[in-house]
């Protein structure tokens, strides 16, 4: 009897501690959401309960600047992020099949090169890339934001190779007996069986493109081509902001796609991270 009481006490302390920690951690996010509903005078106060629920903040914020509303910026972000995601995931899957399943001369060599590039920061190549895209006349278009994503990302390839290697080889052999070649095995056997890895990669790819600030900052000049990240940074310019509520409102909206996807697919992210980190 005594043991179970101490256990219960321990368990209560545990959950109280975790929840307190969680509240502290989520304070900035909750504060942002709360402040997006507050009146102007109150917008920067620390309280998490807004003095009023002003939907007007959102309506005003949505107006954006000039004659461009946030609808344009969201549309731009969606176009960029979805096309980039499709390209990156499909091509990563192809490469993963090549590395994970097909035996060919030079495979280990190229695979180790790819592993090394996992550690390679892309900021190092930003200048020559910029000059290259400048030469091609791609500045101020979506091309430099989308086309470089039509290459596999080493991190995704690595994740998918783990998956491909985990599939029983008997699947391929059975398919081969049924007359499948090396190409149809990819479409009929591999792709349907690595769906979880594809979803994980797609979510990350979408997230990273959606939140990317660096690339649009370099390449996009016209306001009508701004993605949300760039628009928000301009909208929240400390020298120009007068309407805090609207700024917090747009910041909140910019994170909505992230939260919504997370709510439905969090399992894939949590498991994807765990496998990528371990089986190295």
């Amino acid at each position: 009897m005594k043991v179970s009481t101490t256990n219960r006490l321990k368990s209560i302390i545990y959950h109280v501690c975790i929840l307190t920690l969680g509240l502290m951690m989520f304070y900035p996010v909750l504060w942002m959401i709360a402040s997006s509903f507050k009146t102007h005078a109150n917008a920067l106060s620390p309280t998490l309960i807004p003095d009023q629920f002003l939907i007007e903040n959102y309506i005003q914020g949505w107006q954006g600047f000039g004659d461009l509303t946030f609808a344009t910026f969201f549309k731009n972000s969606f176009i960029i992020a979805t096309t980039a995601t499709i390209g990156q995931v499909m091509l990563s899957a192809m490469t993963a099949y090549g590395f994970g399943r097909i035996e060919f001369k030079g495979r280990n060599f190229w695979f180790s090169i790819m592993i090394i590039t996992l550690l390679f920061p892309r900021q190092v190549v930003m200048i020559p890339q910029y000059l290259m895209f400048n030469q091609l006349g791609w500045i101020n278009s979506f091309k430099p934001l989308i086309l470089p994503k039509f290459t596999p990302l080493p991190f995704f390839v690595f994740l998918m190779v783990q998956f491909v290697r985990g599939l029983p080889i008997e699947l391929d052999e059975a398919a081969r007996i049924d007359g499948c070649g090396v190409y149809s095995i990819f479409f009929k056997i591999i792709l349907p069986n690595i769906k979880p890895a594809l979803i994980t990669a797609a979510i990350f790819s979408f997230y990273w493109t959606w939140q990317d600030f660096f690339t649009p900052l370099l390449y996009i000049q016209s306001t009508e081509l701004y993605p949300v990240s760039l628009a928000l940074s301009l909208f929240a310019d400390p020298q120009a902001v007068t309407n805090w509520g609207a700024m917090f409102g747009m910041a909140t909206l910019s994170l909505m796609p992230i939260f919504i996807i997370f709510i439905f697919f969090q399992r894939y992210l949590v498991e994807g991270i765990a496998t990528s980190g371990l089986k190295g």
Partner: protein, 301 residues
């Protein structure tokens, strides 16, 4: 059937990895070599560019105090944020590895900040939270920890720490990796330690930590590089200031290239960055044999 290598499979192999090969050459190897070439020139987008040998490097290393400052700031940021982020990640991973109720939910919840921490939205929030009239001052004054408000962002003494705090806040992915690592430690190790009368701390330091060193190693490598590359937060929250106190390396590189248009000079900075990162990674890998423990070592493979 399993291990056949012939021309047909080799061709198929190269066809399937061709997207990666293309990306590797077009967006990595060739640009890196191009930037090496530019780093020896005075290229600046406006006037004609000249080959000037090692002049850029000489100027950076000898005359450029802003370069040395940015290096100092970046190292300070990286090596304070790294232990904070990783110890936070480990602490929570241990807490969530106890098989209690709701741990799956907690684990997911605590992962969220690392998903959004790099976004413009959070940077904007952080700037207001720690600003002179921001909420953090009200909270600290309310708790009696502070008498007068401080402009955390505008003060060169404190500005970098707001960025370090934001970095520590994003401990989610190393936490998940630690958790996965903890799950792989065989229960029997703890059981036999318990029989020997070991307490929780002894188990933690003599079983958990040594068994986790490969995962710690992985996290150290990945997070060091990630922190070293920080840009968005410094650009939006502090704009590198005040008086360059948060002018991290990539931000300085960006300013040289795209505000002063010194492409040649910035290319040299990019190459120095690449060298620094390679040395750091090499050192971490080298050091690993002294502290990373692989289970199959004793038995031999």
């Amino acid at each position: 059937m399993r291990n056949y290598v012939n021309e047909r499979t080799t061709l198929a192999g190269y066809i399937f990895i061709s997207p990666w090969l293309f990306g590797f050459f077009a967006f990595m190897l060739i640009p890196v070599l191009m930037s090496l070439y530019y780093s020896f020139t005075s290229y600046n987008l406006i006037s004609q560019s000249f080959f000037i040998g090692l002049d850029n490097y000489k100027e950076i290393l000898v005359d450029d105090s802003r370069f040395w400052n940015s290096l100092k700031v970046t190292f300070l940021y990286t090596f304070t944020a790294l232990p904070l982020r990783l110890s936070f990640a480990l602490l929570l991973a241990v807490l969530f590895n106890q098989g209690r109720k709701f741990v799956g939910f907690y684990r997911t919840l605590f992962y969220v900040p690392s998903l959004i921490g790099g976004s413009v939205a959070i940077s904007v929030v952080w700037r207001q939270l720690f600003g002179y009239s921001g909420a953090m001052n009200d909270i600290l004054i309310g708790m009696g920890l502070l008498e007068n408000p401080i402009g955390f962002i505008g003060n060169p003494q404190t500005s970098i720490w707001t960025l370090v705090l934001l970095a520590a806040w994003q401990f989610g992915s190393p936490m998940l990796i630690f958790l996965a690592g903890l799950k792989q430690i065989p229960i029997r190790l703890y059981e036999s330690a318990a029989i020997d009368g070991a307490n929780w701390w002894q188990k933690f330091f003599h079983i958990t930590i040594p068994m986790l060193t490969p995962v710690i190693f992985f996290n150290v490598v990945m997070q060091t590089i990630r922190l070293f590359m920080m840009f968005t937060q410094a650009y939006i929250i502090t704009e590198g200031g005040p008086i360059d106190s948060t002018m991290v390396y990539v931000l300085y590189l960006f300013k040289q290239a795209f505000q002063y248009s010194s492409m040649g000079y910035a290319s040299a900075l990019a190459w120095i960055l690449l060298v620094i990162l390679s040395i750091m990674t090499f050192l971490i890998f080298k050091s690993s044999k002294y502290w990373v423990f692989y289970e199959n070592e004793e038995g031999g493979i």
